[in-house]
Subunit: 483 residues, 2 copies
């Protein structure tokens, strides 16, 4: 594609994206297609000859868009958000345009150094412990996801717990990892990948607010040590997926210190809230953690993927993941003066992901990011109050940040039908979880375009839909299957 | 950022990228900065207030660009290429602009279905075995890298070899993986991550052309089985990193079949060459492989990351990596009619990477991609002939595709100085390896803008620089440190 054609099509696509995002609110939030619909629109074989770009863009509109769930819709309240912004999209565009691959410092010093610098900026921005800064033995990197971060944390913890032996000999002794049943499924995935097996994941019991019980953790560690099992890692969650429960870090860290176990803190969703000083209490006790992650790609206006992953001691991480074949040797690596981020992650190759975070920080400034977080916390707090005040609804868990978990009185079946009806409307999208065994609706505020009015409209629809379902229990059953 | 501002800055950035790529040939190929230079240009603290986009773009030019190694430079001959193209960059832009996250079919059906469809298209495009198509028990996905693909292949192989037991109990028996010393370092990394330990990686000996010896593999498998070790996976490479050696797939597959061991074929660099029918011989024997990968992001004009990863039986892969917590349950998943690609990879989240590959295939058509591959194969073949014909140089390995490995007669020190002097010139960038113990220069042809004339110019510089170094052995020592 010539430079002139790239300019032309690039401008067209930028305009198309601007229009799409500007009008996304008018679309149904989730896709309205059956399994197989998208594939049936596509030719069975790849094209022999090139086609005009305009035809491709027309097919985006015709085939792709109807098959999207619109994550950037302001009434997207499902899962956690994966919000984005203009500067983030442009940072991703620049990353693709430069086309550099930052596996080594030497293969583009700016890719490595901007990333290291931004991760230090984020220590300041979020008020994180200094131990995570790169000018000491620790440091941060951008991972693709919190799943990869917890896997790498586990590998580093395994390295430290076994003094590097397992990297050579393989797993030759019983090991264990500790988290609550509310912790993210990526922990079990990591435990499996790392060869410990699901059975090695100990489910630590929780208190009434779904947060980890330090006494139960202490007892579990004690029991395993006594039985000859080597505890490798404890995962504490700041903002669980189900209910944004906050595990008590100070007490957990003290237990981990006493038992000499690696503490990983998974703040994938909630951590970025600490850009607001008044919310930094969520990280109390973090200074004793060995590793930490939070996702700029959930709630901090930076498009997926941008997980901020920190370790207090990078030696264990690099020990677990560093391998230096001849074809990657170079003077800078040999000098020891540089970071080679390939040794901090599973893949060898790396995109220049720091650009999008840099663009976001400079465009909004910390002030802008704080305003964005505060608006959502306030909207969620308002919603939680409405739930509490409504005689037919119950708040299923505390809502300290931007996730509100609630139920309509009347049992699981009614709540399942309520969720299906809400999502079928196309006006909003929520998901569910189970808390204390009960089917629970989750409404996560956090979209870039989500304002107080969208949360108000959602609540009005929730109450009206529930009232209709209760009044006409048999109605519209056909329309209530979630897509 | 308002829609209007996004349009304005987006157009500016598209133009900036067009100019950058148009002029990249005039820049020194590698970065001219010392460790720490980039960080010293950046403020120590993040900005409190937002800044104009123009200031950010000015800093890209002032701080980022001098710190880049220009992977898109036509005289980039280092490592393997990570080439890119206009349609690929626009596909990445669209992916970021849509901002959807395709962890589940339900979270954007188009993201999953376009990917599955394109992976089937690529079976046709590359003439891959039908067993990798998604309409049978197999299928393909886009992974971030060949490193992640080999890890996932190993997890699937471990799942099958132990009938799922290790996913629960952890590694409880001696396991082994087989590859040559020429195979990629990601295999050792995967073996470590999966908890087998480096010692479990058996180094199978090679023939005179650095390709795996099937007889040696057979003997290694035999010996391990006899000693009570469970062979889990063999990795055969089609196009090794050091020298593009081609392991003999038919014989290896036969040995694997006989020993009932998973065969993963790593064609990260070379596989995409099979878009040309006359090069499909590189995949002879692939129909017996259990998994396969090739990188569209190396030599197929699609920007990193875009690894095409296939399995003949997706059940083992999903068995190894699938976990379904309550908050991800949905009707489509429960129906079994859809693919949820989160179960095919380490991370949970996924970008819409299929768009860039789709844009590339439709813009160039298979004809365009073949022309691009053929031009590079011909240029490399020409270069190999020059090396062979030159009395002072020796071809260090066969050059069947686009990588040429060579040495100047005169020993390692001379060749090290030759590489350093070439790279210091800023006119081209090559890297090195060791073959049969000897320091060897690698020149990999494959950049989007790389034409025959760039390879001719590189060879002229190689011979002239070598002649100068031999004539003046002490000259310019200070300037010869690689950056």
């Amino acid at each position: 594609m010539s430079a002139e054609a790239f300019r032309l099509h690039g401008h067209d696509l930028v305009d198309w994206i601007a229009d799409y995002l500007d009008g996304v609110e008018d679309r149904p939030v989730t896709a309205q297609v059956e399994p197989g619909w998208v594939r049936r629109q596509l030719p069975p074989e790849p094209p022999e000859r090139g086609e005009p770009f305009a035809d491709v863009l027309a097919d985006v509109e015709r085939i792709v868009v109807p098959g999207l769930a619109h994550w950037q819709h302001p009434s997207w309240f499902a899962y956690f958000p994966a919000n984005s912004s203009g500067p983030a999209v442009l940072g991703e565009l620049l990353s693709a345009g430069l086309g550099v691959q930052g596996m080594l410092w030497a293969t583009s010093p700016a890719c490595t150094e901007l990333e290291a610098h931004l991760l230090d900026w984020m220590v300041t921005a979020l008020g994180l412990p200094e131990v995570f800064r790169s000018d000491g033995p620790g440091g941060g990197t951008i991972a693709d996801s919190a799943s990869s971060a917890v896997l790498c944390a586990l590998l580093a913890a395994r390295e430290r717990a076994t003094a590097g032996a397992i990297n050579c000999t393989g797993i030759d002794r019983p090991l264990a990892v500790y988290a609550t049943a509310q912790a993210h499924s990526s922990i079990e995935k990591a435990v499996r990948i790392a060869g410990l097996g699901s059975d090695a994941l100990r489910t630590v019991s929780v208190d009434g607010e779904h947060a980890l019980s330090p006494a139960a953790l202490d007892a579990a560690l004690e029991a395993d040590r006594a039985a000859g099992v080597e505890p490798v890692m404890v995962v504490a969650t700041v903002g669980t997926t189900s209910s944004s429960a906050l595990d008590p870090l100070p007490e957990i860290a003290e237990v981990c210190r006493r038992h000499r176990v690696w503490l990983h803190v998974d703040a994938a969703y909630a951590g970025v809230a600490a850009v607001c000083p008044e919310l930094r209490w969520i990280h109390a006790g973090l200074e004793l953690a060995d590793s930490y992650c939070t996702n700029a790609h959930k709630w901090l206006l930076t498009n997926f993927d941008c997980t901020l992953f920190y370790v207090a001691d990078r030696a264990a991480l690099v020990g677990a993941l560093g391998i230096l074949p001849e074809y990657l040797r170079n003077a800078a690596t040999a000098s020891g003066d540089v970071i080679d981020y390939r040794d901090w992650q599973v893949p060898l190759g790396r995109r220049f992901r720091a650009l999008k975070l840099w663009f976001v920080l400079r465009h909004y400034g910390l002030e802008g990011l704080r305003a964005h977080i505060r608006e959502h916390v306030e909207a969620a707090s308002w919603l939680a109050q409405q739930v509490v005040a409504h005689p037919d609804f119950t708040l299923a868990a505390p809502a300290p940040l931007s996730l509100v978990c609630f139920r309509r009185l009347g049992g699981d079946a009614l709540n399942e039908r309520l969720l299906a009806a809400l999502n079928d409307s196309g006006e909003l999208y929520c998901t569910h979880t189970r808390l204390d065994g009960a089917y629970t609706l989750r409404l996560a505020v956090g979209g870039t375009r989500t304002e107080r009015r969208h949360v108000e409209a959602a609540w009005a629809r929730v109450t009206a839909t529930a009232a209709r379902l209760v009044a006409h229990p048999g109605a519209q059953r056909d329309a209530e299957q979630p897509v």
